[in-house]
Symmetry: C2
């Protein structure tokens, strides 16, 4: 299976799904007559990141997965978002960035090495980076964002997490 | 990257990490003088599965990932666990099952089709099953289990989720 298939369709879909959760969060806030901005500061534990940061981290690990495996410099996002409109815009930008990668971008990536900025002198192979760091981190932060919403009564369900499947007829 | 590398090392490691969370949950219960069994029934939303079921689902998606991609029948686990010892035993059995797969077990798996029991007549290619269903579900349930523990004050951190990385020197 190509690295493109492992990265581009699943991650662009996940970021599309996240926008659905945002729509449902706004519906819930409207129904319960509270400011949806309240949810951006919600968290599951006092020493864990709030929803806004979980969404920023989801974007980061999505763009890092594509960029680092392909050996490109990802666009910088300095975590300055404060509103739903701003974080939604970032999700869209990152989704379009990930979607822009073609199979040719990943040619030779099996042999690429990804240096780890937080461990000077150490690195992972690009495939190991994808499967031991980028994907676990991506799903960790996306699921935590989903869990914060669900814990706060937003009507998200498993289908909104998994999204559409690339089905075939038997 | 081989399907073996995408499945066996990351999933066996995740199940190893889950046992670390269980140890930390027991430490927390001991320190706060409550019965750790209380945590098995904890949940983040009234209509979401409790911790015990999240751990059972984590085991299931781990064993399904290996078995279905390799075209084997996974062992059955009827969700009868009620205690920490029982769910810990299941995690170990599933980890050993996943660890038992060799690269040869995945030969030809790129062309395998995985029927979907909940969608009669429909299927996914084995690689799509892995990346659009098994891994998102696995990380969803594992992260939700982690989130339930963290929400309840257990001292789990990100390093306990990600675990050891297959590092190389630069």
């Amino acid at each position: 299976m190509s690295l493109h298939s492992q990265i581009v369709p699943p991650i662009t879909k996940l970021l599309t799904n996240v926008e659905t959760w945002i729509d449902l969060a706004h519906e819930h806030a409207s129904k319960k007559s509270f400011d949806p901005a309240v949810l951006l500061a919600a968290r599951l534990a006092p020493d864990q990141f709030p929803l806004l940061k979980q969404l920023q981290a989801t974007c980061d690990h999505g763009k890092f997965a594509a960029a680092r495996v392909a050996g490109k410099d990802p666009p910088k996002h300095p975590d300055t978002e404060q509103t739903w409109d701003e974080i939604r815009a970032r999700i869209r930008v990152v989704r379009e960035y990930v979607a822009s990668f073609t199979p040719a971008d990943f040619e030779g990536a099996e042999q690429r090495i990804v240096p780890l900025s937080f461990m000077p002198g150490k690195a992972l192979s690009a495939p190991d980076y994808l499967h031991h760091s980028a994907l676990p981190n991506l799903y960790f932060h996306a699921t935590t964002a989903y869990a914060i919403l669900r814990h706060n009564g937003v009507d998200v369900g498993k289908r909104h997490f998994i999204g559409a499947l690339p089905l075939r007829d038997l």
